[in-house]
């Protein structure tokens, strides 16, 4: 299929990138490094690398040890559903729900950060590649539509972004979790090593490894000063060492260095302008949140990287005679097929005897990973559900133990609270969610936000496949802990709301056929080739692990595709 587009001779910029998070930062870097004059729009305030006011504060430097205050909870009542993002050391990077409302026909926890860098500042940093088992699953099972790409198409781009950002971890030689070129792994602790050993001897289908995480564990990386991880585990406050990857420390400084980037914070993009004559986008309309002015910027190429829900909302607002239901929405799939990973299920157990004299040093912002071992063929197949799940978690000596509960007061109680508690090992499963057309978001033109723009409404939930999978997610956690001699095993299962995984995906999916999908194999809108969408909205299926590394790889690939087209047109 033709993927060409024409230059826009009136344009002030070669390209516009909407959003500065994981995807926007990569789009900006790749486009600028290819010589394109690029306008980068961000709806929120400026945050430069280093603008991390709480990064060096200890609990006693924060009121109430950092516990979320009533005032914060009231302002950020939906963000607070996570239970952790509103901690006072990090809540300033999460939105005020009173100021940025949305509605829920069915519960959806939309966790957002409106500032330069977006959620790349507060992300979970776990970095895994999707493999052909993921890319082929929809086709094999006849679910939704087929991905228009395979692992061989995206592998070089995974290589490129992994190398640039720095990912620590180990290779495992598994089809389900393609290997990469990793920085030295972080260490497992002795209880995790014990469970690893047990899994390798007692099970023939599963393995335990340290998480692959976007932290520099040796040397330095390019950017605004990126050096090795100090094991402080304060990542979500912003890292003064630039040890984990963020747009602020890495891709935006790279884009800036070229001299080709114009970064414009406080700019809410709300519409992609479309020209019927050329059948192409001509640019983007924005509202300047400081002057309240409405402005238009023209470019030859538009990259939407505003996050799945926000980019989809922009496409929906981009109405024209040609696209009465939103730009590129001939299929009617725009806004549908919302996915998130489901988790908060698993089990915790107390380590067997023999580890009481062991402890750790350092606060590792990482945990264990047990890659998917379900539905990979043969005896791994489950009759009850499709796809699979992996486990994160780890062993720790925290918390308040039973002994503390039993002692009422006195010197013995004091001694007890000053010692490490018993080792507890948590196996927390993360599972794949199937795409389902009935899971959707749409726009509410009755309830406008303070800028007069329509607000988002969610109507989505997990389905029977996820619920069936959760039973196995819990059972297998218990089984592994039992095999390891763990005691006091406490299973848990609290699915919460969709969105809690903070992995919104699928609302402008890729596909082979414009009749059933929004984007083609290069992340271009099928019917408007100079618009690329490279955030989570392109995901045709979810895989079972953290998706951000894939957003980076697909964005880098799309941006280089766009730059190539652009150079061809202008040569």
């Amino acid at each position: 299929m033709n993927s060409c587009f024409l230059p826009n001779p009136d344009a002030q910029y070669d390209a516009i990138v909407v959003g500065t998070g994981i995807s926007g930062g990569w789009a900006a870097k790749e486009l600028c490094e290819n010589g394109l004059k690029t306008l980068v729009l961000e709806r929120g305030r400026m945050v430069k690398h280093g603008d991390y006011p709480t990064a060096n504060l200890d609990p006693w430097d924060l009121p109430n040890g950092g516990t979320t205050t009533r005032e914060t909870r009231i302002k950020k009542f939906k963000q607070h559903r996570t239970g952790y993002v509103t901690h006072e050391a990090r809540q300033h990077f999460f939105v005020d729900d009173q100021k940025h409302p949305y509605k829920e026909d069915r519960r959806f926890d939309w966790i957002r950060g409106y500032h330069v860098g977006g959620r790349s500042l507060m992300w979970g940093r776990q970095s895994y590649r999707m493999g052909d088992i993921d890319f082929e699953a929809n086709k094999k099972e006849g679910i939704a539509v087929d991905w228009p790409v395979r692992y061989k198409d995206i592998k070089p781009w995974y290589d490129k972004v992994e190398e640039y950002i720095g990912v620590s971890g180990v290779n495992a030689g598994l089809d389900i979790l393609p290997d990469g070129n990793f920085l030295k792994p972080m260490n497992l602790n002795c209880v995790e090593e014990h469970l690893k050993e047990v899994l390798s001897t007692e099970f023939d289908d599963r393995t335990l490894m340290i998480g692959r995480t976007a932290h520099i564990t040796e040397g330095t990386k390019e950017g605004a000063g990126r050096t090795t991880c100090q094991y402080r585990n304060r990542c979500m406050r912003g890292c003064p060492y630039g040890a984990y990857f963020s747009s602020n420390s890495s891709t935006l400084p790279a884009a800036e260095k070229t001299g080709n980037m114009t970064l414009r914070p406080n700019s809410i993009a709300y519409e992609v302008m479309y020209d019927d004559a050329t059948q192409q986008a001509t640019g983007v309309k924005i509202i300047d949140t400081e002057t309240k002015e409405k402005l238009e910027f023209e470019a030859s190429i538009v990259f939407l990287c505003a996050s799945a829900i926000a980019s989809t909302s922009i496409l929906m607002q981009s109405k024209s005679d040609r696209f009465p239901n939103g730009l590129g929405n001939d299929s009617g799939e725009l806004g549908h097929n919302i996915m998130d990973h489901h988790f908060r299920v698993g089990a915790v157990g107390t380590a067997p005897k023999g580890f009481e004299d062991k402890y750790f040093k350092g606060r590792r912002a990482n945990g264990i990973y047990i890659p998917r071992f379900r539905n990979l063929g043969g005896k791994t197949d489950s009759p009850d559900f499709k796809r699979g799940y992996g486990y994160q978690g780890g062993a720790n000596r925290g918390g308040t133990g039973e002994q503390i509960a039993e002692l009422k007061y006195g010197p013995e109680l004091k001694d007890l609270i000053l010692k490490p508690q018993e080792w507890r090992m948590n196996l927390l499963a993360f599972g794949e969610t199937l795409p389902d057309h009935s899971n959707r978001m749409y726009l509410d033109y009755e309830n406008l936000d303070e800028w007069g723009l329509p607000t988002v409404v969610f109507d989505a939930d997990f389905g029977p496949n996820e619920i069936a999978m959760r039973k196995d997610m819990q059972e297998q956690a218990i089984k592994m802990l039992e095999a390891g001699g763990f005691t006091d095993i406490t299973p848990y299962d609290d699915i919460g709301g969709m969105g809690l995984g903070i992995h919104e995906m699928g609302t402008a999916r890729m596909g082979r056929d414009p009749k059933t999908s929004v984007l083609n194999e290069w992340n271009q809108v099928h019917t408007c080739k100079n618009v690329y969408v490279t955030d989570g909205s392109f995901m045709t299926s979810a895989g079972c692990h953290n998706p951000s590394l894939g957003y980076m790889a697909f964005t880098a690939r799309a941006a280089n595709h766009a730059a190539e087209q652009f150079k061809k047109m202008n040569s």
Partner: protein
């Protein structure tokens, strides 16, 4: 310069650290002078009662400070004031009232004459064993006003609230965090090893 100092310096110098007015405010509020301190949420007699109980729960011993040495009452007062729901605050006030009535009935009107033994007896008799206690109904101190139910806080739950708040305040104090527990703001690595060698048997404060 020590490694730790150097790292801290490096961390700060990689960018301009912008402290918002709100942050400066809260930093100031954390370093307020405990001399002449007046409770905000609690009445003075309630704060005195919490101080007595806190020092029984975590008393001063040879090596380590007691609860009031590290200002746990100030911490608890601010926490209840700024963190608890308005509804939970009312329940706390109600519970204070019931405990006061009980102490007056048992030991007389004059609170200044209530002894450590009297307070200890309150904890001994009032705090139930976890096994003998009914679980909290859903929505207890849920942190969201609409979910907070109307059932009063039982005497046992109230005393346990004071116990856990005391522990929380104690462990989150600078003196305990930096001097009593093992403190390492810039560990630089993650390793597993011998408990005695790593921390002398103490837990990490961070």
């Amino acid at each position: 310069m020590k490694r730790r100092e150097a790292l801290k310096h490096l961390g700060i110098s990689t960018g301009v650290v912008v402290a918002s007015p709100a942050l400066l405010n809260m930093l100031q509020s954390c370093t307020s002078d405990p001399e002449g301190w007046k409770p905000t949420f609690m009445a003075q007699d309630e704060a005195d009662m919490v101080a007595q109980l806190a020092d029984i729960i975590l008393p001063k011993t040879e090596d380590t400070p007691g609860a009031s040495d590290v200002n746990v009452v100030e911490f608890i007062d601010m926490y209840w004031d700024q963190v608890s729901t308005v509804k939970y605050k009312a329940k706390l006030k109600d519970a204070f009232g019931r405990i006061k009535t009980k102490m007056v009935a048992d030991h007389g009107e004059d609170a200044s004459k209530w002894t450590v033994e009297n307070y200890t007896a309150l904890l001994d008799n009032g705090m139930l064993d976890p096994k003998d206690e009914l679980p909290d109904p859903p929505g207890t101190n849920n942190q969201f006003e609409p979910f907070e139910h109307d059932e009063p806080i039982s005497e046992s739950k109230f005393l346990k609230e004071i116990k856990y708040m005391t522990i929380n305040a104690y462990l989150n104090s600078e003196q305990v965090g930096e001097k009593v527990l093992a403190y390492d703001p810039y560990p630089g690595d993650y390793i597993c090893g011998d408990l005695q060698e790593l921390t002398g048997g103490k837990k990490w404060s961070l």
